[in-house]
């Protein structure tokens, strides 16, 4: 090969790099290993994580331990879906493009909004991206009103992005577990570009999206909701509530837990925003012979065409994981999604009641819930969690770091994998843990 090139050595080719910026030593990285040794190394690292197979997992906070049907992995692991790039050559990318089109249809159906893109990175950055759209759509307005029921990660990400948008973020509080209508009314003004809410909100409460949306619209602002797609079999879809843009975290749909990623985000909107959408959108068309096919549509929104005038900078997104979402949804089907949603609502109600009955556990709010709910413990939450972990239970997500006002708050998530027996086990463990932790605190207090 070198002869063909006319080079003496492969190193010679690196003469293109001036000596002063060439690394003149070996990389200080471990030596390469055999496949077997890498496998053993990774396996030993993995063994030091307590995963949802080794514990009964009531953790949620945006990512949930749903049962992912076996066909998802079987199909996603096919080279034909796993290894291509973004479909720049549509003639040989019809599989991926059709998958995007089907994804868009699924998400559009779920949210009852006519337009969906082909995926975003994940939930929180989709929220922040929706703000970019809103600021573009509502030129001149710079204020973003955000419910405290929005996922803390979404609020923080929005805050990070907003420094680039030169926008002001105003937070409004919760009342009885739901976004305060009064605070919202007070915050809305002629400078407000959009209102952001979440459904169910971070504490699990089912919001009245329609009321919130109409308040936003009255002030001339857009209404943007982040929604949990797995609840949309039972909860009124944002598109029917007047929401302009619905985004969200796609992990519940066919996603692994994966310590937080890769998952996918989704981004749906009303027709009027179609040319402001971020990211890839597949569209149906025909070929020169009149045969049906799919392409990346509306590319003139995108960075590779429009560069600094693009509607967003996103390029690589989450195509494969989004296909996992399609597969899960298609597997569930029209009835399955509803049944699953109903099961979750009923189990969540059962769990909430079971936990509320425990001495030292009370409800944080009594708003309606769909799959997750918040309680307040009469004991240090971390100690309670440690005790439950000893019982093989990840009892929930402690609220204190994100919500100083809920110091010993605990968020408990239900999926179709958490059976009544699991819930009963949680209740027993929690009861003992709260009692135990309370006692040890009493002792400590008595001692001090």
């Amino acid at each position: 090969m070198l002869a063909e090139i006319g080079a003496e050595s492969a190193e010679e080719l690196f003469d293109q790099i001036p000596a002063e910026v060439r690394l003149d030593r070996d990389l200080e990285l471990p030596d390469g290993m055999s496949e077997q040794d890498v496998f053993e190394h990774l396996r030993s690292l993995a063994a030091r994580n307590a995963d949802a197979d080794s514990e009964v997992c009531f953790l949620g906070a945006g990512m949930y331990d749903h049962y992912v049907p076996a066909l998802v992995d079987a199909i996603l692991s096919r080279s034909e879906f796993l290894t291509p790039y973004t479909p720049y050559q549509p003639e040989v990318s019809q599989g991926g493009l059709q998958a995007m089109f089907e994804f868009q249809t699924c998400m559009s159906e779920l949210t009852a909004l006519p337009v969906s893109n082909a995926s975003m990175y994940e939930g929180p950055s989709s929220v922040a991206s929706a703000a970019y759209l809103a600021l573009g759509a509502k030129k001149g307005r710079r204020k973003l009103v955000v419910s405290r029921g929005l996922h803390p990660h979404s609020r923080e990400t929005l805050g990070t992005y907003a420094s680039g948008y030169d926008a002001e973020v105003v937070e409004i509080g919760l009342e009885g577990g739901l976004t305060s209508a009064d605070e919202l009314a007070a915050a809305l003004d002629g400078d407000t570009a959009a209102v952001f809410v979440q459904n169910p909100n971070f504490l699990g409460g089912v919001e009245d999206l329609a009321a919130l949306a109409s308040a936003a619209h009255e002030a001339g602002a857009m209404a943007i909701a982040s929604v949990d797609p797995m609840t949309l079999g039972v909860l009124k879809p944002p598109g029917e509530c007047g929401i302009d843009v619905a985004v969200g975290e796609g992990q519940p749909l066919g996603g692994r837990l994966d310590y937080g990623g890769p998952s996918f985000g989704f981004f749906c909107a009303t027709e009027e925003h179609i040319r402001r959408m971020p990211g890839r959108i597949a569209g149906e068309t025909t070929d020169v012979d009149g045969r049906r096919g799919f392409v990346l549509a509306l590319q003139t929104r995108e960075q590779h065409i429009r560069r600094e005038k693009a509607t967003h900078n996103i390029c690589t997104s989450q195509a494969l994981i989004a296909l996992g979402g399609v597969l899960h949804l298609v597997w569930l089907g029209k009835r399955g999604l509803v049944e699953l949603g109903e099961l979750m609502v009923r189990r969540a109600a059962y769990a909430r009641e079971a936990l509320a009955a425990i001495d030292g556990v009370e409800l944080l709010h009594e708003a309606p819930i769909a799959r997750e709910f918040a309680v307040r413990l009469d004991a240090p939450v971390q100690e309670v969690l440690d005790r439950c972990a000893d019982d093989g239970i990840a009892a929930g997500y402690p609220l204190g770091r994100d919500y100083a006002e809920y110091e010993n708050g605990l968020l408990v998530a239900i999926t179709e994998r958490r059976t009544r027996a699991d819930i009963d086990r949680l209740a027993r463990s929690l009861e003992a843990a709260v009692a135990g932790a309370g006692k040890s605190r009493d002792t400590a207090e008595a001692r001090s």
């Binding site: 890498v38 040989v92 599989g95 600094e308 189990r347 769909a370």
Partner: protein, 496 residues
């Protein structure tokens, strides 16, 4: 590939069919409206398809075969680093300890994951020559945005308002798009005849309003900009930062480090240089590595390592706040599953192996370039700039268009019939009728020879009869598609 008429899964739906059986309700079967007010409940179910499992499997297997993929044949898509995706990485990513680990797990019980992330951070730090790493960004463009928001925070922390970001006209589209999203104004810097940045133009534009220079090196022409140190000095002298778009890292791993070139902030594409499969458009990950002065602003959460006091080995934790941090760029800790794959890749190859990978990538690109130059491409598709290249090179189809009446697009489409994925086309913008080839190190000499032969045959066809190309492809699942209508009257979902 499958050539039958496209049919969506919705078009296979038959009322009453199903795949999933939902577990039975084992708690009181309360009416839903007793639990959630009726007005908040959905009335009409979403029209998801009603199909059986066999139909699902068959449907997606069939449409999968309407894709060209890296395991079908060479995929020399420039700037995309279509290297082989080792199957080991998929296997370790799927271990329950990784795939089934909840992101909100107590760090005490996720020590393996945190250690893996820590190790990956350290590896990327060594590869980039920059001491601090955040794995958080989800892809290249997300890393770019993080980088510019870091730049903004850095300047603001020093009480400076800066408004402009310089990018060469060879820059990838995400660079200018990111600049705008980060609230800056794009200022283009010209390219010199060698394919590098025009230093005089840079000098002229570099002033105190400049927040940052964004650069790819080697750049999107596959050319290593020899003036990098000087450029860094110019920008640093006016107080700006240097951002390195690491999409082309595959050219220089172990050979040259952006930190040593003078860059302050780097993003890497784990889905390019570090073998994460592209998935038909993601997922990926775009970790950033930064210099000391940028470090205080890095996103949270951050991974911290605590040495044990009793010699029991280190422990790891997540730090959720830091005074000057720009904050979060996304939910939870990042695309951990991607980290697992790339970490496995780095450990498989080791330091030497990574260096060798870059060496072979550069060798392969130069070999393909030389092969092509000796054939008809030498005449019709000459190299746009310079003589040699790094890991990729850009040809111009301008002579072909003028002399043979075939456009780069036609050549690309005809390559599909030959069983190859075309190179990246019409990018970078400053090259007319550009064809950008990046073979990567995992292609064999034989496949490069076949690719060169195919291009030669195609050009021979063009000499004979350009229509063979302009009407191509013929053998693909569909032929040329009407993209204009798809954008004019977009149909972006199935009407149901």
């Amino acid at each position: 590939m499958q050539r039958d008429a496209a049919r969506t899964i919705f078009e296979r739906s038959v009322e009453g069919r199903r795949a999933a059986v939902v577990p039975e309700c084992d708690v009181p079967d309360t009416q839903l409206s007793k639990l959630i007010p009726q007005n908040l409940l959905r009335q009409k179910p979403a029209e998801l398809p009603e199909v059986s499992e066999p139909e699902i499997v068959r449907h997606y297997n069939r449409i999968s075969r309407r894709n060209f993929d890296l395991d079908t044949g060479p995929y020399p898509l420039g700037s995309c680093t279509m290297k082989h995706n080792p199957r080991l990485n998929e296997k370790v990513a799927a271990l329950p300890g990784h795939a089934r680990l909840h992101p909100a797990q107590d760090p005490k019980r996720a020590q393996g994951a945190l250690e893996l992330m820590w190790n990956l951070e350290r590896s990327l730090s060594e590869l980039t020559g920059l001491p601090h790493v955040s794995l958080q960004p989800s892809a290249g463009s997300h890393g770019e945005l993080a980088g510019l928001l870091l730049t903004r925070a850095y300047h603001e922390d020093r009480g400076q308002e800066r408004s402009r970001v310089l990018t060469p006209d060879t820059a990838h589209g995400t660079n200018p798009a990111t600049v705008t999203m980060a609230g800056y104004e794009v200022v283009k810097v010209a390219t010199n005849p060698d394919g590098g940045v025009d230093i005089d133009d840079l000098r002229a534009k570099a002033d105190e309003s400049v927040a940052c220079l964004m650069l790819t090196n080697p750049n999107t022409l596959g050319i290593f900009d020899r003036n990098i140190r000087e450029m860094a000095k110019i920008v640093h002298d006016v107080g700006g930062t240097l951002y390195y778009d690491g999409a082309n890292m595959n050219a220089v791993m172990g050979w040259s480090r952006p930190g040593d070139m003078g860059f302050d902030i780097v993003h890497l594409n784990l889905h390019k240089s570090f073998s994460q499969p592209h998935g038909g458009g993601g997922p990926g990950a775009g970790p950033i590595a930064v210099s000391d002065r940028i470090a205080p602003f890095l996103p949270v959460p951050r991974i911290v390592r605590h040495e044990s006091e009793n010699g029991a080995g280190p422990s790891f934790d997540l730090e959720h706040s830091a005074e000057k941090s720009i904050g979060r760029m996304r939910g939870f800790q990042g695309n951990f599953g991607v980290f697992v794959r790339s970490y496995a890749y780095i450990r498989s190859l080791g330091g030497d192996g990574l260096k060798e990978a870059s060496e072979t990538a550069v060798l392969n690109a130069n070999y393909l370039l030389a092969k092509l130059a000796k054939g008809r491409a030498g005449k019709h598709l000459p190299l746009a700039f310079g003589e040699r290249c790094m890991h990729e090179f850009v040809l111009t189809g301008d002579p072909a268009r003028r002399e043979l009446k075939v456009k780069t697009l036609d050549i690309a489409k005809r390559l599909l019939d030959y069983g190859f994925h075309p190179p990246t086309i019409y990018f970078p913008l400053l090259v007319d009728e550009a064809l950008m080839f990046e073979p990567t190190e995992t292609e064999t000499r034989e496949s490069l020879d076949e690719l060169a032969d195919a291009i030669d045959s195609i050009l021979a066809e063009a000499e004979e009869d350009p229509a063979i190309l302009t009407e191509a492809p013929y053998t693909t699942p569909v032929r040329r598609l009407d993209e204009a209508t798809a954008s004019r009257n977009p149909v972006v979902r199935q009407p149901l």
